[in-house]
């Protein structure tokens, strides 16, 4: 922790080696978050790359109010939101279905498994999935999430509530289908 604080200080001042070290340390964590969020390997790679580029451009503005990993997640989340706004709804639906199928297939190869939880998470709207992951998996408070996403607290609360409700419903349906 002490080491990272010193590296961050140097990176903010403009030291290339320090910034590179920071990005290297957080690369996998960032990719894993974006992959779970987008459920699309190709999109996750693009967004991870874009996030790193944005981090390089904006490192001078990093204030160390939150952890560096939190800052990266915030950048990545906003990029995902921006992308979703730009792409058409119908085209997005078709792309997401295809990407999820591909991810399911690849995950079966890597993990020998495709947990129901992932299938259920894949059915969520991206905004709800983001809220659920940040709150329940990564452990951020609602106020922190609102700050990271530059979104009103009320919106974050309703997305968390809707997201977890839908997740439970999806998993209950999967359970019913298995037992019938």
């Amino acid at each position: 922790m002490h080491d990272e604080a010193a590296i961050i200080k140097q990176a903010v001042k403009g030291d290339i080696r320090s910034l590179s070290e920071l990005l290297r340390l957080h690369y996998s964590f960032l990719y894993q978050y974006v992959l779970k969020l987008t459920m699309d390997k190709s999109k996750a790679e693009d967004i991870t790359q874009e996030t790193m580029l944005k981090a390089i451009e904006k490192i001078g503005t990093y204030k160390a109010k939150a952890k560096f990993s939190t800052w990266l997640i915030a950048i990545a989340s906003r990029l995902v939101i921006d992308r979703a706004r730009r792409s058409q709804r119908e085209r997005r639906y078709v792309q997401e279905e295809g990407a999820l199928r591909q991810l399911r297939y690849e995950s079966l190869g890597r993990m020998n498994d495709w947990p129901d939880a992932l299938e259920a998470l894949g059915q969520l709207d991206e905004n709800h999935r983001m809220a659920v992951l940040l709150k329940y998996y990564y452990g951020y408070a609602q106020e922190e999430i609102a700050d990271m996403l530059d979104t009103p607290l009320g919106t974050v609360k309703s997305r968390i509530h809707a997201g977890i409700k839908q997740l439970r419903k999806e998993m209950a349906q999967d359970e019913e289908e298995r037992s019938s």
């Binding site: 590179s20 990005l23 894993q32």
Partner: protein
């Protein structure tokens, strides 16, 4: 108290039903750390490109500003009435644009909820 209780119950459910699957997923998709030298080159190159882009944009800004300023001063020299009219139209246009952008942002935030 009730709200916290509900959140705790949801967190408990999530930890029992979902978390394990996600941890397994993270393990399966863990990426090796990139080479530091490669990253340094990547960071340095992007910084260079970004600086060049900013300088280009700044140069363009000054060029456009010089043209606009020359045109306005020319207009002021020829006819102050037209100058005042143009300033008035620009001010109304700018206020209108800001108002429209603010309304659009508000609509977007409602849509996102």
């Amino acid at each position: 108290m009730k709200k916290n209780g509900a959140h705790d119950e949801e967190q408990l459910w999530f930890d029992e039903q979902v978390k394990t699957g996600l941890l397994k997923f993270d393990q399966a998709y863990e990426r090796p750390e990139p080479e530091l030298a490669q990253l340094e080159a990547f960071v340095a190159e992007h910084r260079r490109q970004h600086r060049r882009k900013l300088l280009r944009e700044l140069a363009l800004f000054w060029l456009v500003a010089a043209i606009v300023l020359t045109a306005i001063l020319g207009l002021l020299d020829r006819s102050w009435i037209w100058y005042v009219t143009l300033q008035g139209i620009s001010a109304v246009g700018a206020i209108g644009f800001i108002a429209a952008a603010s309304v659009k942002r508000r609509k977007q935030s409602w849509k996102n909820s």
